[in-house]
Symmetry: C2
Subunit: 217 residues, 2 copies
């Protein structure tokens, strides 16, 4: 690992980021940077590697305008450069697992048969979670890992972001055409650049003292 | 933002990371790097900034050995350098909100009275979620944002990690003394350095094609 960054660079970025309240609507994320942030989503870790998600990236102004009222009218939806809706795959199916197994076989150049034990283990885990009615909950957690990786990555590239849970998922699903599919909106993230006059940008970051959230044993 | 990193550096780190199966038990994370990773947890974004979490960092070999059987005997628990248990604060209380408000007032040098409207909004949101029995679920999602930020940060510092959901939360809570408190184990993360002979380190990363998980509108 020769490419690692310094702790100073990391902490500078994590201090610099904040939930951007006001984006500069004139500034767009350059293609290279956005591609990297999409890759941060694609490469996000997930339980057993199942990637139980879909990311809807909205840049179309008309679509942003339709979504905004279903997100409490928050200006970030329309003023950001790229608005991402992170969706979970509901009731994760055996078909999905088989698609993943197929992809494993393709990428690692092995037979699907050689992955039989893994397949069985995964199917068993999913079916158990399904029976206990915690499958969607489990998978929705994974979507938040992707969100966390996206937020940290954006900060490191100098791209502002605002995670948004304040929206009506059913309305979003309807507007985005997800209703009736196996995908459902879980959380959103607006990305772009802070407006020069966003007063939240200069407010001191508030965190509990480390000793109040970290216990060392 | 002058400290931002290149997309090449970011993507190199995100490709480099993998769920480490076998850690080198002899290698410990240097103090400076670990401090930065704790800061990545402390600085993680959370809904309304409430930080509904506690992070238990285990380095004591005896404690690791006690936890391991409750994590399906996985070797990462004992062989890693730092083993983190990410816990959620259950049934998030008005007291917690008031601690946060108190901290806001302290850090931003304002009166708690000036935060009255914010306080009311947050309390209302929590009570609504509590009434709808989705409060703990909502807060547990936040814990996964912290996990995502931790995993990306570790990769960027060249520190290996393995997120672990395969453990018995009730047993962990008992062993860690969380039973009967407002905290409950949600997910874990082992951090350290890959063993030279971890065969998973050289396997090709498997991800769906971008077009299969990303939709652009």
């Amino acid at each position: 690992m020769t490419h690692s960054i310094s702790t100073v660079t990391l902490l500078h970025a994590l201090h610099w980021r904040y939930a951007t309240k006001k984006f500069d609507p004139a500034r767009k994320i350059p293609e290279t940077d956005w591609h990297a942030l999409e890759q941060a989503l694609v490469l996000a870790p997930s339980s057993v590697g199942l990637q139980p998600w879909k990311f809807i990236v909205v840049t179309d102004p008309a679509m942003k305008a339709r979504l905004r009222p279903a997100a409490w009218g928050q200006s970030q939806v329309t003023d950001c450069s790229h608005f991402v809706v992170l969706a979970v795959r509901k009731n994760l199916s055996h078909d999905h697992v088989d698609r993943h197994i197929g992809r494993m076989a393709e990428v690692r150049e092995v037979t699907t048969e050689s992955l039989g034990k893994f397949r069985q283990m995964v199917m068993g885990n999913l079916d158990k979670a399904r029976a206990e009615e915690r499958l969607d909950l489990w998978q929705s957690h994974q979507v938040y890992i992707a969100l966390g990786q996206l937020l940290a990555s954006a900060a490191l590239l100098g791209v502002d972001a605002c995670p948004i849970e304040g929206f009506e998922p059913e309305k979003f699903d309807e507007i985005l055409g997800l209703t009736g599919t196996d995908c459902a909106s879980v959380v959103c993230c607006a990305a772009g650049y802070r407006a020069a006059d966003d007063k939240y940008a200069t407010m001191k970051k508030v965190r509990f003292k480390p000793e109040d959230v970290i216990t060392r044993i």
